[in-house]
Symmetry: D3
Subunit: 295 residues, 6 copies
Amino acid sequence: MFYHVKELQYNAKPERPDPVYAKKLQEILGGQFGEMTVMMQYLFQGFNCRGEKKYRDMILDIGTEEIAHVEMIATMIAHLLDGAPAKEQEEAAKDPVVEAVLGGMNPQHMIVSGLGATPTDSAGYPWNSRYMISSGNLLADFRANLNAESQGRLQVVRLYESTSDPGVRDMLSFLIARDKMHQNQWMAAIEELEQQQSAVVPSTFPKNLEKQEVAYSFMNFSKGTESEKGSWAHGPAMDGQGEFEYIENPEAMGQIPDLTQPPNYVHGTPTPGQMPPGTEGAEYEQGNMDQGPLN
Amino acid sequence: MFYHVKELQYNAKPERPDPVYAKKLQEILGGQFGEMTVMMQYLFQGFNCRGEKKYRDMILDIGTEEIAHVEMIATMIAHLLDGAPAKEQEEAAKDPVVEAVLGGMNPQHMIVSGLGATPTDSAGYPWNSRYMISSGNLLADFRANLNAESQGRLQVVRLYESTSDPGVRDMLSFLIARDKMHQNQWMAAIEELEQQQSAVVPSTFPKNLEKQEVAYSFMNFSKGTESEKGSWAHGPAMDGQGEFEYIENPEAMGQIPDLTQPPNYVHGTPTPGQMPPGTEGAEYEQGNMDQGPLN
Amino acid sequence: MFYHVKELQYNAKPERPDPVYAKKLQEILGGQFGEMTVMMQYLFQGFNCRGEKKYRDMILDIGTEEIAHVEMIATMIAHLLDGAPAKEQEEAAKDPVVEAVLGGMNPQHMIVSGLGATPTDSAGYPWNSRYMISSGNLLADFRANLNAESQGRLQVVRLYESTSDPGVRDMLSFLIARDKMHQNQWMAAIEELEQQQSAVVPSTFPKNLEKQEVAYSFMNFSKGTESEKGSWAHGPAMDGQGEFEYIENPEAMGQIPDLTQPPNYVHGTPTPGQMPPGTEGAEYEQGNMDQGPLN
Amino acid sequence: MFYHVKELQYNAKPERPDPVYAKKLQEILGGQFGEMTVMMQYLFQGFNCRGEKKYRDMILDIGTEEIAHVEMIATMIAHLLDGAPAKEQEEAAKDPVVEAVLGGMNPQHMIVSGLGATPTDSAGYPWNSRYMISSGNLLADFRANLNAESQGRLQVVRLYESTSDPGVRDMLSFLIARDKMHQNQWMAAIEELEQQQSAVVPSTFPKNLEKQEVAYSFMNFSKGTESEKGSWAHGPAMDGQGEFEYIENPEAMGQIPDLTQPPNYVHGTPTPGQMPPGTEGAEYEQGNMDQGPLN
Amino acid sequence: MFYHVKELQYNAKPERPDPVYAKKLQEILGGQFGEMTVMMQYLFQGFNCRGEKKYRDMILDIGTEEIAHVEMIATMIAHLLDGAPAKEQEEAAKDPVVEAVLGGMNPQHMIVSGLGATPTDSAGYPWNSRYMISSGNLLADFRANLNAESQGRLQVVRLYESTSDPGVRDMLSFLIARDKMHQNQWMAAIEELEQQQSAVVPSTFPKNLEKQEVAYSFMNFSKGTESEKGSWAHGPAMDGQGEFEYIENPEAMGQIPDLTQPPNYVHGTPTPGQMPPGTEGAEYEQGNMDQGPLN
Amino acid sequence: MFYHVKELQYNAKPERPDPVYAKKLQEILGGQFGEMTVMMQYLFQGFNCRGEKKYRDMILDIGTEEIAHVEMIATMIAHLLDGAPAKEQEEAAKDPVVEAVLGGMNPQHMIVSGLGATPTDSAGYPWNSRYMISSGNLLADFRANLNAESQGRLQVVRLYESTSDPGVRDMLSFLIARDKMHQNQWMAAIEELEQQQSAVVPSTFPKNLEKQEVAYSFMNFSKGTESEKGSWAHGPAMDGQGEFEYIENPEAMGQIPDLTQPPNYVHGTPTPGQMPPGTEGAEYEQGNMDQGPLN
């Protein structure tokens, strides 16, 4: 169960309105790697957690913090939208600043949300839950979390570069620091789990049931071998259980596919030479009954 | 530019049809972490790559391999759908096996694709490109790739557990091995980049511009302190540049939000006591003209 | 900012697992009118609230409660999935109960979430934020909220009817009661606002600027006049400012549309008789330059 | 069955083209609460109606009218797009008016629809049918309808404020009046149904099966009690069957969740201390066979 | 403007309920090529039509008919859902017929729509407007229409094969005939337009501006030349303005891509060797100011 | 299986950056009829092909070419984004060119992809697989392909008209030529199949099972008969098996729908007069048990 306090986790007030920037800031609220994603991802991972208690507690701590981040950014966006102009285009075109604002705003910030934040990204695309994952395997999920915090911090930094408003930058500097902590946190948790299990997810599938011949081979599927110069091409593999090898010219190991004709009731492409039966219903129906469900 | 050979990368033929399993197998074809995702993710990362040539080449090698994985799984699904029954429900209900098959199939495998694979997941949900990421920062993206290969291998293993068909298991054992290689590959590439830069993405944002006070603090937002027992709560942080601290009772550091009233032309909630102007159009319009665009 | 306690708001433990029912229960977690919708809807309405403080506080109280409802239902679903069978189809078909379970499960509960709740509805469709609204006008939004609680309670009741598990029914009886409270709550808040303003949203648009002739007319667009028998056809209108009238044979009041030909650079349908210019590039290009951007 | 007449229900011709406004106007055509939504919502409610004939007739009358509204707005948008410039950006940048137009247009109005209306909202997002509801319970659905007409009229009014074109304003003044009628109409129908049943949806669920203790309690989940000042906190409830009470410090009534470990074949997080079996395939496989489907 | 009559265009009553078939039938109501698609596609093409009056009239005639098809199929689905069982799973599993029904139903037909049709396809996926097209070029759009009627009739036929209910088959035999007419109709209209213009869309782009060398070449991008045996490989092209040629070994005609390094403020992958500036904020910030917006 | 070569199929380098045009160009990369659509459509049609070998080979040849088109356009977009400004809005507003660029860019090209192409259309909407079709009937699918190449070429031509950059126009002139070839190719393949079967898809459904009376009738559902002037209204039908007829006043041929009341456990609208049972739980529950599953 949850409780709310009215104070924000950190300040979220710009020095001046900027409706165009409000549109951009939506990316880290409702985007693929925005705060709504990590909030929902951590809450579901916590609710579904079947592992040790300390993991469940830790995941829900950070999930609860992320609700506060959604609150902060939504508040900031509402402030940035204060006083957005609604003037008509013709007049606006005479005033370059007004026009610039109108052209760069998300029209839904006026028409739909009435100067409030929307649960969408900077392109106006709504958040959806396929952005998040809760797989029941903590090592897999902590990698998802590390990825989300990496992509997310990258986007916050790019947004920092796009404004000089001291209030906005102050809030972003807080988020940039928290995302650094969160990257560190997931790296620590990943290391802990990798030491208990092994580095490959899932660690519990028996080795003898996987195709060993190709489990450590880098396959060069393009002309040229620049890809040979990386640490993934030679030397011991990261899981400590094999040796990388570089296959310069990988060959196909499988058959040429040969699908059978579908049954008549699928009405696939008729074989040429076979008379199209459309004109002779009676015979067709008769023939069909022997082969399929038409009756 | 790309070329095709008719042979599959590996065998993709089941011993017998199984239309219900075909539906499940769709998850690793068109699901959030299926082969379509890694194929498109790697191709876009490669096409957009502005880094060293070896990375671009490596990414496109694996992207090209993933097209072949899409081909293999699609072929397998088409084989599994061979001879799917189309009989009507009433009759089917009399034959438990037929009925079980009909109840468990994705109806679109019959009606829409005519016994072919569909670009959807095991719930019938279509693939969309918000599953993938290409951020322009390779360390961020390699973490996305490691995550995708971890979630993907977990799902392949679960599908391996759900069938005993030797042909299907043979193909899955190949994919399980390739996904092990790909996890190893991205881990190697990540290590390489982390050593050149630092472990936090992006590594190029100046430290003095982020809120240092909260950059290494674990905040305990729930009652109870089980979360203190992990490696993320105390000791040196993973980036080697700070020390974790555990904040047992984190306090709000921000203001109570106080949004201003919107301009009249937004038609937000009218302030109580202010007479609703709807009945006196003329005066309203007059007053409004002073404040907003209605004219 | 938010805090978490480990206890659930109410019990969420079934007497026995039921993976098929778990799939159905998803509707009130991640469906159009599920708990994720009201949670996000209320949180955004609260964060964006520019009205009186008591409304903001009230909205966030209930929004915070809804996070706890998400937690309860997710927990219940995880319990219901305990021990879901993963057996292959052929064997399952021999055991009607196992088969029934496998046929009726959402396969992603096994493959993707590893026996955890997913942020989707009972058809497996992911939650998206276009389900919710925060418009900046509280009367409009409270009607959205009353609707959501009405549709939601209806769905919970239908789910109550579909199970006899005492644990599940216990939790649902709690939600059914809370949804009754929430319907009552929004009705009370709506009445309060309607008395301050008027019943039509928005109440602040001047009456003389709307087309009065059609502001209270019921138009009968079909053969037959059964629709005349309702309270919407005659008598005083609900806003107390007009009288309903019934137009038995509504006539078109507008023009026949007549769109102009598009400019050449749009490459719309060429006018017949006008020679297709494709074969004479030079002349075409010449002519086009006079009219459009091709140059 | 339906018939068409060529005249529009009302005029839909602007005084002059305005491609930027065309983009905004899309909101009330293909947006969450646009005419496509009410059109499809009413048609489906009518087609599915199992209640009294007068409701079915009434719903289909208004559904049929909404098709005409889609027609009017689509026509208006096509007119507004007349003569949209296609000039390249560099030249455009020299002419502020052209540039303003190009920057603010939806590029798909040129590239995809060739100066025609698109079935999308003002952010370019396509209409989808999860915007609408037809639940089989008329009281629930009429609340959905009242909400849609309230949100819709609010958006039309905001669009009225954003233009001074007399032709556009004329059409919008018609829609604003019709939406007033439709709000009145649904309020009348709701009142009728509430008097026959009761105010809480569904009215047919037995009271003794819901958790009475919490059916009229407002729970204050935040610090501070501003929310106590509303009509929802004390006094008789709106359904006339209970009394509101204000719970200042709501306590958790449920257990601390404790999920069981998943079966092995799910490959969840392995318990620490339990040796990772990946390296000893034979034993693992043996052990696994006892517990799960791997065989 | 539109009018409604209460009679259906054709009968839509099954002999007996069949909730499982109701789920399948949804495909031709709300699927990619269902009646909602052609209805909206034709209505928008008509509303946007800038060509000859006869086309606009014809398109709207068929668009209006399609609304009636939506009505028929929705009605049929509601009938098929009559008396769907809601019993719990455990009991159902004892009765194979009930269980088969429950396992094969779309749960939303019970929980969400209360035994009514839903605006979704047979996988439960909601209709969205990206299924349809209205491009402003009639030849292009008539090809879209011919495709939609071809895919649609194929699906109706497959559904005909999956039932033996005489009432359902009666309605489908009507739709199969109408789809035959509609295919014929679009073929006739296409032929008319192709004769006025030419066969390639758009016919108005000047030939000398397209890369003539590759305008009639079939490129064989795979090993093996089976593709040479078709009518597309040799002989006169269909537009009568060129000759097909078969390129057995197509060569790349373009450069190797070489993207420049992004500016610093993008925070892409840092060049190795370049010291990561994160630890020396002051200098970094200084340097950055010279190159980008960070300031 | 697939191989990659580093050279592009054709040049893809603009003369100068143009981030606004980059946004528009996305339409033919990730739009409804962009290269991702034809690439995935052809690959799936090829993988699923159960017809003659020459068709499979041909489809996969063109599918493989389309991967190269995705590569070319993605590369072009990355070049166009080079040097996109990130300056803040206020300063930008002082410089019309910079401002025009910022207002017209897709913000995700900076924030999300770091100056790389995104898998979205020109409105920023992500690609999804419901854009494509693979039906198992080649005639149906080749019509889908002809449509896709027609819509696609129309869009490329419109984009050609919107730029004067010689590098961009050079690449587009290549694509315009290839799309001409592809239209010709699918027309040739369609003609081949139509001659083997017949012109109506599917050709294998027996004529006597379809409602012959309406199989060649044009129905005029609107006032006025302009639609009679087309080739679809009179004369021999295109399939050579019937004669078009024009029905000026089509009549309804079906019944008035009359749906039965739903069972109680659906909780639909209660019949008026029937006392609302909510207040008397015991009796209700008793009564309900006779009719439905509540127990």
